[in-house]
Subunit: 338 residues, 2 copies
Amino acid sequence: MLSERRLQVLRAIVQDYVGTEEPVGSKALTERHNLGVSPATVRNDMAALEEEGYIAQPHTSAGRIPTDKGYRLFVDKLAGVKPMTAPERRAIQNFLEGAVDLDDVVARTVRLLAQLTRQVAVVQYPSLTRSTVRHVELLSLAPARVMLVLITDTGRVEQRMVDCPAPFGETSLADLRARLNSRVAGRRFSDVPKLVEDLPDAFEPEDRGTVSTVLSTLLETLVEENEERLMIGGTANLTRFGHDFPLTIRPVLEALEEQVVLLKLLGEAKDPGVTVRIGHENAHEGLNSTSVVSVGYGSGGEAVAKLGVVGPTRMDYPGTMGAVRAVARYVGQILAES
Amino acid sequence: MLSERRLQVLRAIVQDYVGTEEPVGSKALTERHNLGVSPATVRNDMAALEEEGYIAQPHTSAGRIPTDKGYRLFVDKLAGVKPMTAPERRAIQNFLEGAVDLDDVVARTVRLLAQLTRQVAVVQYPSLTRSTVRHVELLSLAPARVMLVLITDTGRVEQRMVDCPAPFGETSLADLRARLNSRVAGRRFSDVPKLVEDLPDAFEPEDRGTVSTVLSTLLETLVEENEERLMIGGTANLTRFGHDFPLTIRPVLEALEEQVVLLKLLGEAKDPGVTVRIGHENAHEGLNSTSVVSVGYGSGGEAVAKLGVVGPTRMDYPGTMGAVRAVARYVGQILAES
DNA sequence: CTTTGGCACTCCCATGCGAAGAGTGCCAGG
DNA sequence: CCTGGCACTCTTCGCATGGGAGTGCCAAAG
């Protein structure tokens, strides 16, 4: 177990390094923070912290920088979440309230997060399976062509074309629309498969093929793969990464383009609160020198999706966590209102 | 007027510089291209080309690199569009045909363009005003709440919430839906305002307020500002820009996040064919060292939107132009089919 | 046992210098 | 008008040097 003072030394190292981006030495530490001890003592503490793997030196006779393990301890034990100031909160709320539709909400959220944290922002669209159905619409575009439109309580709209095996009359379509909505409206998407299972039985034999086709298309849109969408922004902030970045930035940009990777990144967060994954804690190799701060958001008590930021492991964790948490809260409010 | 050989020298300089990314000297030129003259002669030609502003030296006693003006001449006079090979065409077609909806088409197009050109790809969604209306749907979500869904012939779907000034009955809604569709279905969006002008007159006085509200929301979605959406991808390719890129890449990433800037970039292209804007020809300052290659695409004869790539002025113009043109062609086909 | 000041040591980094290389411009001759 | 030769310029690289920051260890004091 580390003594109280050694933890303070670690905290000071993290804070200084995050501020200056340069390895921090014992002398500078005692000057900037009044620890009440001499540099020599700090040196001993540093040696101990290094022994335990919380800090490291880039090379002999350089200052120390925190390791992933050091940041982890900092986040877990040494730092809280820095709350947003009142003006900041107002600004967030005002900005988000101007949104006209879901796309706009998400787009604004991304911009906001990127600006507040000065990092790369990632916002997932509300998940279909965790939302409830507001309405299912069927439109006849041609005798054997139907458009299926899904609308969720979070304002998300998804549409698919359906090519019917047989012509489908306007009355049958109206019938299907009515039956479908009476069964699924207001229910959670995850329950939809069970709720529509026996629906074809209610129809005339010649329509059953078409009804099944429509239903299977409906179910297809709910599978994980299609239903997860996201938006990213603030990539220009990557240029603040470090001076060495051709090598650092490349894999990050690549990872950001892989939706699957990003979804996993956000998706692994289980905690109801803000989740932080530091450096090598991220499964994806290209993100080994980045940290991800994420949190769920939702219109009610339950999270319908995640949002977060990606930045260098050397980031302002308390501030970032505060911003992410605040934005998630307000986005949830906006969605609940719409 | 430049002699034929000088143009060849310019062409050779552009080709070599694009390939090697290094200033090209007179000796290297004569070795790699058989111009049939000695380095000394080439030097004279180079001096002339520099005099005219087509090439420049980074510093005395270095090789030459093309200027924007040099690239312009190269694109206009010295190089054609390199057509895609048959296998490449097939690959493009196969990849695009797998798309399930418009979002997917656009997403795939972006990936494709980015991969083919190894540059940043930008694809604009089909413009609303240049598309035709397939269907307008009205859904009653609450007594005084209506959702408006617009569907275009290109598969684009746009939705808006409408808060009605007064409760609006289901029959009135059906009436409005029917009248609206009979007037606008199959018509161009740009004609919609005129077509619905007098629609409120057909309704009972107590419903007119709501009808007007719905119509004005409909018209709002058509204004330029909202109707232009786009998707970008391949930003990781920016890392191939140059070795100096902290300074180069930053403004480019920033510009790419500004939808307005990008839309202007694509929008300025008038030509029915591929348009190339080189370096300072781009109005936006951050893009002064990049070139934009863009072209319109559409389901029929007319372009409904633009797509293109953004890359360093030092790019393979013939290849890029070929890829952009080919992709646009196939996207048009896919949209026409859906 | 912990803290402190002193001191030698290590390693990075900025600076300066010199040599090498690439490329040019110019000139005189074919 | 083309060509070969030649002097000149400018960058780049390697290398040695000195300064500086920071460490680790030790012996003494609290």
